[in-house]
């Protein structure tokens, strides 16, 4: 009997243990991980932490067709989107169809940048717990543990994000290295424009020597990382931006330090010029020769610097594909040659290209401008930038006249201007079809440094110096413009500061077209109001008896009001934060 009692217990306990050993699935999320996993105290390679940094890099823009499918350039007088009827974002940006509460999210990012900045701050806070045993060589040649580079790269990216905010909004709240929680006071005021510029420049100074330097030690693994040269290139742009009229002298609101400096200072142009000059002196043809102008303009955008591209300073690789060709290539091809003609350069841009000898349209005695042969004898960069009627493409002469094979005018889908964008695309002039091409989104290239220098130096001096001229000669020489008998590449001698300013502004426009400079340049120069009094134009080409006849046509009269020099801070942010001051007139 007693045995039976024990047996009952044994069976009972057996069942209890069986019940508790369930074969259910796990009850906690084993596929999820937390901060300690990403910044792991046991991960000596820092694999996860590096992946965290990758995601911060990913926040860098790829602006190829990056604003709702268009280039930001299509919100300037340089181009139009083919999809005007669908009211693409660039069209709304061009026409000013936005308010503080109804913003164009593809370019008016605010929260996204603060999200990226937070990521940087998380990395800075946590990276030192990772016991890195791998090292790198910094810009000064020292071997250091990898976390030093990662921290500096993250700070570079943070400075870049702040600059994006500064361009768009003027002074913004600087949050330092803080990582906020909900319990923190988030009602931060905006810092002044001047504070933000100083912050970005100081950050660059602080990190530049901790970054890698070009040429890279292990390019196969580290190409595309932020380098000292990228940081210094950013510095030239930031200083040029800060010295520009919109913030220096001709601000939107007097006494409002959020939107510019309180008073004009010519010295700011000097800072900008010095930064650019020092870059050129250190790395250019008179320095280490790491950077220079690539011999072939077209190759700049499809060729990695391991492959003989001395112009690249900082860029994002957007893959080896036919994406840009399909999106922007001319209409009228199909299958593997299909192009959707998304970006239509304007007549205004085409007119900005000088003649082959560097003289402006109609001013050259050697190459008189013939309005019925408008593309003959022009600056070669025109053909590198724009596809027009008669251009060679995919082994065909493009017919972009009305109803032509590459501009089917009778349907809703046609080039607004009779042009297509050529820049950035692979060399498919004589190819049968599109093939995979390496496409880069270049954030900084050497040509820009030259132009930054020329502009800043010209503004600083009373009359332009030889240094300024030399820079322009170099750019025009590379472009393939004839030097002319006087070796002046079509530039007049003894130009006044104002004349030179116009030359430099035009040179920026054509050299850097579609690289997202024009949109910001016409703002910082504070010329947008005047500029947009002119309509955006296209070319109407009509074929009569086999001959095309060319006629410039007005396409869009874009208005521009003063407040649009800066974007509105999101209405909701002003609402939530009592200290947040809206930009003027929004």
């Amino acid at each position: 009997m007693k045995q039976l009692k024990y047996l009952t217990w044994v069976i009972g306990i057996f069942f209890m243990t069986q019940l508790s050993c369930t074969d259910n699935y796990e009850s906690l999320p084993v596929d999820r991980f937390t901060e300690d996993f990403v910044f792991s105290v046991t991960d000596s390679t820092g694999k996860q932490a590096r992946q965290f940094l990758n995601t911060i890099y990913e926040q860098l823009p790829n602006r190829h067709n990056g604003v709702g499918g268009d280039y930001l350039e299509a919100a300037t007088d340089n181009a139009l989107s083919i999809a005007l009827d669908d009211e693409p974002d660039v069209y709304k940006l061009l026409m000013g169809r936005y308010t503080a509460s109804n913003r164009i999210n593809s370019d008016m990012k605010w929260g996204d940048y603060y999200a990226s900045i937070r990521k940087v701050n998380i990395l800075i806070r946590n990276i030192d717990v990772v016991p890195f045993n791998s090292s790198y060589t910094d810009a000064l040649g020292n071997k250091r543990p990898l976390n030093a580079s990662m921290k500096a790269e993250a700070r570079f990216l943070r400075a870049y994000f702040y600059f994006q905010l500064l361009q768009r909004y003027g002074g913004v709240p600087l949050i330092g290295d803080r990582v906020f929680g909900l319990e923190d006071d988030l009602e931060l005021p905006r810092n002044t424009f001047s504070d933000c510029v100083d912050y970005i420049v100081n950050e660059i100074e602080d990190i530049k020597d901790s970054l890698r330097t070009i040429p890279l030690e292990y390019p196969e693994e580290f190409a595309h990382v932020a380098t000292r040269e990228a940081a210094l290139a950013m510095k030239t742009r930031v200083l040029l931006f800060a010295a520009s009229p919109l913030f220096n002298g001709n601000t939107l609101e007097e006494g409002n330090e959020l939107v510019g400096y309180p008073s004009y200072s010519r010295e700011r142009w000097k800072y900008a010029a010095d930064a650019a000059r020092s870059f050129m002196d250190n790395y250019g043809e008179h320095g280490s020769k790491i950077f220079g102008l690539a011999p072939d303009f077209r190759k700049v955008f499809t060729n990695w610097y391991g492959g003989d591209n001395p112009e690249l300073i900082f860029f994002r690789n957007t893959g080896n594909n036919t994406g840009l060709e399909t999106a922007n290539g001319p209409l009228g091809f199909s299958g593997i040659r299909l192009g959707n003609g998304r970006t239509n350069p304007s007549q205004n841009l085409v007119n900005a290209f000088p003649m082959k000898d560097g003289f402006a349209r109609g001013e050259s005695s050697k190459y008189p401008y013939n309005p019925q042969k408008p593309y003959d004898n022009r600056d070669p960069r025109l053909d590198y930038t724009v596809l027009h009627n008669g251009s060679n493409w995919l082994g065909t002469q493009l017919k972009t006249y009305q109803g032509g094979a590459h501009n089917p005018a009778a349907t809703g889908h046609y080039s607004r201007t009779s042009y297509y964008m050529r820049k950035f695309l692979g060399d498919f002039e004589n190819a049968d079809q599109y093939g995979n091409t390496l496409h880069l989104w270049i954030m900084f290239r050497y040509a820009e440094i030259l132009l930054n220098f020329a502009e800043a130096e010209n503004e600083y001096l009373d009359t332009p110096s030889d240094e300024v001229y030399n820079v322009l000669y170099a750019l025009r020489r590379r472009a393939g413009i004839e030097p002319g008998d006087d070796n002046r590449y079509g530039l007049k001698s003894n130009m006044s500061q104002i004349e030179m300013r116009q030359v430099i502004q035009n040179e920026r426009r054509i050299e850097l077209a579609f690289e997202e400079h024009r949109y910001w340049d016409i703002r910082r120069w504070r010329v947008a109001e005047d500029l947009f009094s002119e309509p955006v134009k296209g070319m109407q080409i009509i074929l009569s008896q086999g001959n095309p006849s060319y006629q410039e046509i007005n396409l869009i009269q874009a208005p521009f009001s003063e407040r649009r020099y800066l974007y509105p801070i999101p209405y909701s942010e002003v609402n939530k934060n009592i200290n947040m001051v809206q930009n003027p007139k929004w």
Partner: protein, 1024 residues
């Protein structure tokens, strides 16, 4: 073998009866001739009795002069005096005011007269007359407190959304009622697939007293479904077949090519552009002289049929012995879509919409011993939904950018397909796409097993029993599509002048093969275990005590999509009820339960509720004075319930890192993957809570009037919403916090009346529901102007501009002349013109912008619904009508549903503003036409009360007319036979003429969902 045993058992039973002296055989029917199953028959003052079997037959040993008492739910009690006959037919009169009405509640049943909670119920008899595939749609207008909205009529996807007592939570998903079928939780999808024929009754539980037992899941009310079970008797086969035609409730009318082209020209002229069409073009459209160069196609009529068919067949067999009872049912439902067949004869690809469903259910009850009962329910549902691949056919037709009446001929003269030549996309015509681009088919298989035992434990103490239930369900859904893209087959543009066919630039010359794709949509397993102890006993016929203690756990595992770990729910529920002389009533219900959706500290909560009732009509002072009152009961309940629906996933309590975006490094474009921070966790996340108060009155008078009314006030707090007042400087998303608070109040009830005029029985029933909510706190940022605030408004309050007519030419003079006082205009590059919609400048700054958007109209869910049922029967004929109405709601149609150049031109557009019409004083119902999509006239950019209309509708929801054949005319093998016709959505009355869409379309959309259907149905039912 089993069957032999059943038959043997049955024979034994008969033999037993035959042994008695006087055997009375009889059949019990309703006054309309329907056989009544399970009527309780007792010989008065004895213990003897029986119930009728599935044929309505009974046999009972009686003595002449015995009084038989027949009782049956929904019918009046009848006392029948036994004469000398041995074969009788007894008729029971229906009683809508029945005092014995028993309704299903959570884990049991309750009598209406002694219930303290707020419950509305409907029997399946009333639902089977509605020719729709799903229960939600059949419940319209039948239950007080039940709010429904049907936003699509697509076969298989036409189930309504429903809410019990409106909405209470700002957390949109947190408003769905809990669905309980045979005490097991079902999902919405599962519910809409249940065959109505399998259902015995449906209740909705509305107040805390009845929902507290579900604790953390009860806050949105509970829909309780009970399925049919077998009755003692010989096998009874019941066959119901019906077929019907569907036709849309509302169809859109669009202008023809000439009218459209004229308006296009007018709009272009308004915009300062060249007209698109010449006078010759217009003439050609008008006289149709050039059908290929200037086509005029009514795409709606070309693509859609007028009618489509549906069919429904149900067979059920039920019966049983005293030991084993069974109910076996199979059903097949088939509903076709309205798209015509354009495919060529040798192409067997069906691209039409359709829905096919096969249901099967076996419910078995087996009394193992006198005290031990076992049940096994097995049910499966197989479903197939078909739709054209990659398109919404109605939406295609509405969309002006995609097609116009003059875009292409229906077919080219040589019979080839055309493409939409003048559009951007160059799509093939819709008939070409439907013929060539394949279908998408969703298949779903839903298997459920429920096993349960009940053990009467009277040997411990009388009235005690225990109950164990295990339910397992498995849902598997996949899709398969056969597709071909629009560039995979040839379409041509035919030029009648040159007679040249040019191929679509996006197309090919040869037909490509179809591609085949598909995958698993979901695979879900759900295991539910329940164990309970129950106690119910009446002491001295005065004290009625009941109690229950229940343990319930549920585990749901999603095994395909998202591969999630199981979601678990666990809890205890206890109820205690006490009734003194069935006069003073009190119920306590407490649940302690939780789900692992929340952190381990915040998983379990207590959910208590109390309900009290007082049957004044039982008091002698009352009885004596008001003898015409059969029931007067006051009741009230108060309690706390919860809702565990958490938006944004499961691990809200924990911040987790996720796989993030990757970046190219290195010279060969190597993709390096990344990690990123997930939303900030909310360590304290917990369930939403609702305090519910309900006070109600039940009244039955004059034996033929019944009345129920409830007032309720709910306070919903700790609602999970994302804070709207956190600056983006935080840099990361946040988990929802338990911060928002709303209240919800209203009344609902019903009034029933029945009478008999001569041989005609008449009954009528009015159901009314009203529920109004208000946001008390939602963590909203301080708005610049009061009228922008959402706090204090109902949930889902629309905001927009307030329309004050049209800009007049006089206004324009002021505006353009810069007059000191001129109407406000928007601050954009598009100048307003005379005939544009004019809006009120709320902040008086002279500019129309977002600050001028105030609360307009009402939320989309009606806050008042009515249902009115009238029925009558005479000599086997019966007729019932159900009117259903919804009031106090708003909706708008935007974009491709109404706006010119986005939508096809509609008759409304002919009533546009033009200077001429304005000066002639003609009625103007639409702003001037413009091809610019961004003007102030756009509903998408400037939502206003011009577009948002306050609507109501009243529908003749169902009509049912049937004839029950008298038994004498039926062939001998048939026990009963009935034919019927019924209709669904027969008539609709609404108050608006701006839109052509159905009043139930989803608001702020193009309203181009598949049209809601009207159904005419013919059927018959036989039993043998």
């Amino acid at each position: 073998m089993k069957r032999t045993i059943i038959v043997l058992l049955y024979l034994h039973f008969i033999a037993l009866l035959v042994g008695q002296n006087n055997i009375l055989k009889g059949v019990v029917t309703a006054t309309d001739g329907e056989l009544l199953i399970g009527v309780n028959i007792k010989v008065k003052d004895t213990g003897r009795g029986t119930i009728t079997d599935i044929d309505g037959n009974f046999q009972l040993a009686v003595e002449p002069g015995d009084h038989l008492v027949l009782t049956y739910i929904g019918f009046k009690d009848l006392e029948y005096v036994v004469g000398n006959q041995t074969d009788v037919q007894i008729q029971l009169e229906p009683d809508q005011t029945s005092l014995d009405e028993v309704v299903v509640v959570g884990y049991g049943k309750a009598k209406r007269i002694t219930m303290t909670g707020a419950v509305s119920a409907v029997t399946a008899r009333e639902l089977r007359t509605v020719p729709t595939s799903n229960i939600q749609n059949a419940l319209y207008g039948k239950l007080p407190g039940f709010f429904t909205q049907q936003t699509s009529g697509q076969p298989g996807k036409d189930a309504s959304d429903f809410f019990i007592r409106g909405k209470s939570s700002l957390n949109e998903a947190g408003n769905q009622p809990l669905i309980i079928v045979d005490d097991v939780e079902y999902s919405y999808d599962q519910l809409s697939q249940i065959n109505v024929n399998e259902i015995e009754s449906i209740s909705i539980l509305k107040d805390a007293s009845t929902t507290a037992i579900y604790g953390i899941k009860g806050a949105n009310g509970v829909l309780v479904v009970k399925t049919r079970r077998g009755m003692e008797g010989k096998p009874q086969i019941n066959l119901r077949m019906e077929s019907g035609v569907q036709t849309p409730v509302r169809t859109p009318t669009f202008l023809n090519a000439y009218e459209t082209a004229s308006l296009v020209n007018e709009a272009y002229t308004n915009d300062g552009l060249q007209p698109q069409f010449t006078d010759d073009d217009l003439q050609a459209f008008k006289d149709g002289s050039d059908p290929y160069g200037h086509p005029d196609v009514n795409w709606y009529e070309e693509i859609f049929k007028k009618i489509a068919f549906q069919e429904n067949v149900n067979v059920d067999i039920s019966g049983g012995t005293s030991r084993l009872k069974y109910f076996v049912s199979t059903g097949y439902f088939s509903q076709n879509g309205l798209v015509k067949d354009f495919s060529s004869a040798n192409d067997d690809i069906n691209t039409n919409y359709f829905y096919r469903r096969f249901n099967y259910r076996t419910n078995l009850d087996f009394d193992i011993t006198d005290n031990l009962n076992m049940r096994l329910d097995v049910t499966s549902r197989f479903m197939n939904i078909n739709e054209p691949n990659n398109m919404n056919a109605t939406g295609e037709i509405y969309n002006f950018a995609k097609m116009r009446p003059y875009s292409a001929p229906f077919l080219n003269p040589n019979g080839s397909f055309a493409y939409l030549y003048d559009t951007d996309s160059h799509n093939p015509t819709l008939n070409a796409r439907l013929a060539n681009e394949g279908y998408r088919r969703t298949r779903r298989n839903d298997n459920n097993i429920l096993y349960g035992t009940t053990w009467k434990m009277d040997f411990i103490t009388e009235g005690l029993s225990s109950n164990v239930r295990v339910a397992y369900s498995n849902i598997y859904e996949n899709n398969r599509f056969v597709y071909r893209f629009s560039d995979g087959y040839p379409t041509y543009h035919y030029d009648p002048e040159t007679e040249i066919y040019s191929i679509n630039p996006n197309g090919t010359y040869a037909y490509g093969t179809y591609g085949i794709g598909g995958g698993i949509n979901q695979s879900v397993k759900d295991l539910n275990i329940q164990a309970s102890m129950n106690y119910a006993r009446t002491f001295s016929e005065i004290h009625d005590v009941s109690a229950m203690l229940l343990y319930n756990r549920q585990s749901r595992t999603t095994e395909h999509t998202g591969q999630k770990i199981p979601e678990n729910f666990e809890g205890y529920t206890t109820t205690i009820g006490y009734k003194y002389k069935n006069k003073y009533l009190i119920d306590f219900n407490v649940a302690y339960n939780g789900s692992d959706r929340f952190g381990s500290d915040n998983r379990f909560g207590w959910f208590p509720a109390v309900g009290v009732g007082y049957r004044i009509s039982e008091e002698s002072f009352f009885k004596n004075r008001f003898s015409f009152v059969q029931l007067l009961k006051l009741r009230a309940s108060y309690g706390l319930v919860g809702s565990d629906v958490a938006p944004g996933g499961r691990y809200l309590y924990n911040q987790v890192y996720e796989v993030g975006d990757s970046y190219y490094f290195g010279d060969r474009a190597q993709n390096f993957s990344g990690y990123r921070e997930g939303d900030l966790g909310n360590a304290h996340v917990t369930w939403e809570k609702a305090k519910k108060f309900d006070v109600g009155l039940d009244l039955n008078i004059f034996d033929n009037v019944s009345f129920t009314i409830d007032y309720f006030y709910d306070e919903r707090y700790d609602q999970l919403v994302r804070r709207n007042d956190t600056p983006l400087l935080l840099g990361i998303g946040t988990a929802p916090l338990n911060v928002a608070r709303t209240n919800n109040r209203g009344i609902d009830g019903q009034l029933g009346y029945q009478t008999r005029v001569g041989k005609v029985n008449l009954n009528t029933n009015l159901v009314f529901s009203y529920a109004k909510n208000k946001v008390i706190y939602k963590a909203e940022a301080q708005q610049k102007y009061d009228w922008l605030a959402e706090t204090g408004k109902p949930i889902g309050q629309p905001f927009g501009y307030i329309n004050i007519g049209y800009y007049t030419p006089e206004d324009m003079v002021k505006i353009n002349g810069g007059a000191d006082v001129s109407p406000a205009v928007p601050n954009t590059d598009i100048p307003v013109q005379a005939g544009d919609l004019k809006y009120m400048d709320l902040n008086n700054d002279g500019i129309i912008n977002d600050f001028d958007k105030g609360a307009i109209g009402m939320p989309n869910l009606p806050n008042t619904t009515l249902g009115w049922n009238i029925g009558g029967n005479w000599n086997g004929f019966s007729l019932s009508l159900l009117f259903q109405g919804s009031f106090n709601y708003s909706f708008s149609v935007v974009g491709t549903g109404i706006e010119p150049f986005k939508s096809q031109f509609q008759p409304l557009h002919t009533k546009r503003w033009t200077l001429e019409r304005y000066q002639n004083g003609e009625e103007i119902e639409f702003p001037r036409l413009t091809s610019n999509p961004a003007t102030i006239n756009s509903a998408e950019n400037y939502m206003s009360d011009f577009w948002l209309i306050d609507a109501w509708y009243v529908r003749l929801k169902t009509v049912d007319f049937s004839y029950q054949f008298p038994k004498r005319v039926l062939p001998g093998f048939l026990d009963s036979g009935r034919i019927y016709v019924n209709a669904y959505n027969l008539l609709t009355l609404t108050n608006y003429n701006k839109y052509q869409q159905d009043p139930e379309i989803s608001t702020n959309s193009a309203g181009d969902a598949y049209m809601n259907q009207r159904v005419f149905n013919l059927g018959f039912q036989v039993s043998f």
